[in-house]
Symmetry: C3
Subunit: 306 residues, 3 copies
Amino acid sequence: MMTKQRNFTNMLDVDQDEALALIQRAEEYKHGAQLRLAEPVYVVNAFFENSTRTHTSFEMAETKLGLTQIAFNPAASSVSKGESLHDTLLTLDALGVDLAVVRHPEDRYYEPLVEGGDLGLALINAGDGSGEHPSQSLLDLMTISEEFGHFAGLRIVICGDIAHSRVARSNAEILQRLGAHVFFAGPEDWYSHDFDRLGTYTDLDAVLPTVDVVMLLRVQHERHATTGFSADAYHEHYGLTHGRAALMQQRAIIMHPGPVNRGVELASDLVQGRQSRYVQQMRNGVFMRMAMIESVLRANQLGGIE
Amino acid sequence: MMTKQRNFTNMLDVDQDEALALIQRAEEYKHGAQLRLAEPVYVVNAFFENSTRTHTSFEMAETKLGLTQIAFNPAASSVSKGESLHDTLLTLDALGVDLAVVRHPEDRYYEPLVEGGDLGLALINAGDGSGEHPSQSLLDLMTISEEFGHFAGLRIVICGDIAHSRVARSNAEILQRLGAHVFFAGPEDWYSHDFDRLGTYTDLDAVLPTVDVVMLLRVQHERHATTGFSADAYHEHYGLTHGRAALMQQRAIIMHPGPVNRGVELASDLVQGRQSRYVQQMRNGVFMRMAMIESVLRANQLGGIE
Amino acid sequence: MMTKQRNFTNMLDVDQDEALALIQRAEEYKHGAQLRLAEPVYVVNAFFENSTRTHTSFEMAETKLGLTQIAFNPAASSVSKGESLHDTLLTLDALGVDLAVVRHPEDRYYEPLVEGGDLGLALINAGDGSGEHPSQSLLDLMTISEEFGHFAGLRIVICGDIAHSRVARSNAEILQRLGAHVFFAGPEDWYSHDFDRLGTYTDLDAVLPTVDVVMLLRVQHERHATTGFSADAYHEHYGLTHGRAALMQQRAIIMHPGPVNRGVELASDLVQGRQSRYVQQMRNGVFMRMAMIESVLRANQLGGIE
């Protein structure tokens, strides 16, 4: 059930059963399960965008699984001489790398790589442009599952820059398939009607008293720097202030993919507050990435897993 | 005796007995002692300032102790998206990192981290702004101990940019407590009367014939670049020229924390000369850092050390 | 036979027998041979120029041999404070590093290091300025050997920026000694008569129908950016177009050290075409570097190899 993903590039390829199986396997890892590799697996983490959570989480997951990491720093690579991502991965493949975990600013960068057929190495997408971020989606599902034990009927609002968020896209799609009701909130300029088929765009204040999960998206200051964006105004209109938090049900939870802009998406002391699952999300991420990597290893018959 | 440091942030927390115990343990490592970890310890080196000696020395010490290193590059992390040091360490903690070795340009950056109480990981300070540099202090003590076997009554002159040197601050304080007589020399503009309680500001030429140790501080060109600083003039007035070296006692030694500006703090061929302990300091650093890390592991019950 | 290289800096030190022995040993590694180290060997890869192929290939070779890698990033080191390469290596040596693999933009950077006599660590040159690139030369020889089984009498044309190519220099010299006939082609401005003693400067079209190997050099755009260089014009006049490829003998092969500028040095679809050995070169590089490292370990009695 967990062996379908030759490459793990987007959530559209992950059906409900597989998502639930990954959550279960991640929970096993969280409770101490270990994998034994009979053969070395060489992995490269190629992050073409800055990252702490996702990058370090993959490093940790690989270490815990016993993979052999080969250092690779895009900034000090031939990419700076103009070499394409394809030719860089072709090189890593030729050098004997079995698995590449890639983050790249280009939407769907992985399609020509996977479809080209000349790359022997397996690929895990750790985030593409405004596209997908499957490991974040799955760790979010795991965190919701730990809280509620199910998805059907849950009411989940995703608030922020919907149009440009890979988290919004990946999550809304799978949550809907799992039977949750998805709402979108945030500035109208940051919403795209492409998302209409995945949920309902609404006012945050209106929906807050009824939801089980408030999923806040990071404001990408680097994207909005030149548009007269005001952090204070954002917080007042779309952020989880103390006033808005008081509207939430007691058993509802707050989620954020990080890094948090404290005092923007939510009030600073809510980040580690009673209803926040921010730290738990990061913790779960390591175990979910272990499950995803195992799935890819099995699909590619890597590591000699019995 | 070596188990007091929950976090190793500054020399003020290190009493005389602990300093001597660390030196003894470092000497044991230098003579081949090995530590056996029964459980993995995950460590991150987070250097927010450039470093060769200290950074690589910690990498080597951790490797020799059998710690599991998780790659982390501040320049490619979410720090560049504005994430704070606290939130970065909160992330690493959630990901399962047990120990962070941190260098950061801000004075006493570690205080809010240690006092906040929300970080489970242990912290070793590898240098903070113009503040402390405990591992450098301890390797300096080890090097002095190897030479003289004691500290009481030793006469030690520290020469250079006293006010902005974390080495000067850390060393003067502990050397005084260990019974040494500390002198300061160098440009008056670079001296601060904050140091009066730790030693005597004096003329280098006057004190050179009587001291056991000449401790030269690196000129931080990056700090003095815009002030009309002249390397030649500095060498002539405050550097260890051949003329000044000839004033030293035969058994006196020269120390420098590195990197050396050859021909500025001291004449180039004195760097690896008979009286210099520059290379020995670097060599000792690995073993002292092993002792410091062991101390922190024991205090935090990490690694399952019997 | 394989134990001569105390430091592996240039091909002039490698005699024919040693080259053939290295090829044989690399083939053994390619067919699964393993080395067993009885003692840890600490290695640093210090790349002062960007690289994917060579850097990652050395990382992989070291990992497969079981060396212990110590992380070192020149951009985050004291080199940025002005520390010299010599003093950086002196530091790494003092910290216990046994072997440094260095790429540096300065021609013959290694000479003062090797001749100084104060460095205990062994050195492998991974490319110096416009000078030497011994690991590339040897993996090229390995690839030619796999194809033809011998070197005597082979006709090999090297095309491109001969004057500034470390590949051209290293390869022409050893190929000539091994009995091959070497030809040079490419823009006259990019040729230097220093190479006259190693081969014949000629027209690419004239020699193409008669050669066994076409060795294309990378156009260093970073070098020619300001000179009105036209990629299209280069491709038309000196590149391996489909038209020129049709002039080649059926059994002749195409080689390129990478990274390829597709559509400049050669037509894009020739890169992975039937006659290209581009991927095979990269693959062979790991095994050749294993053989080179073993040679240096043995010459320095490192690793306790029986």
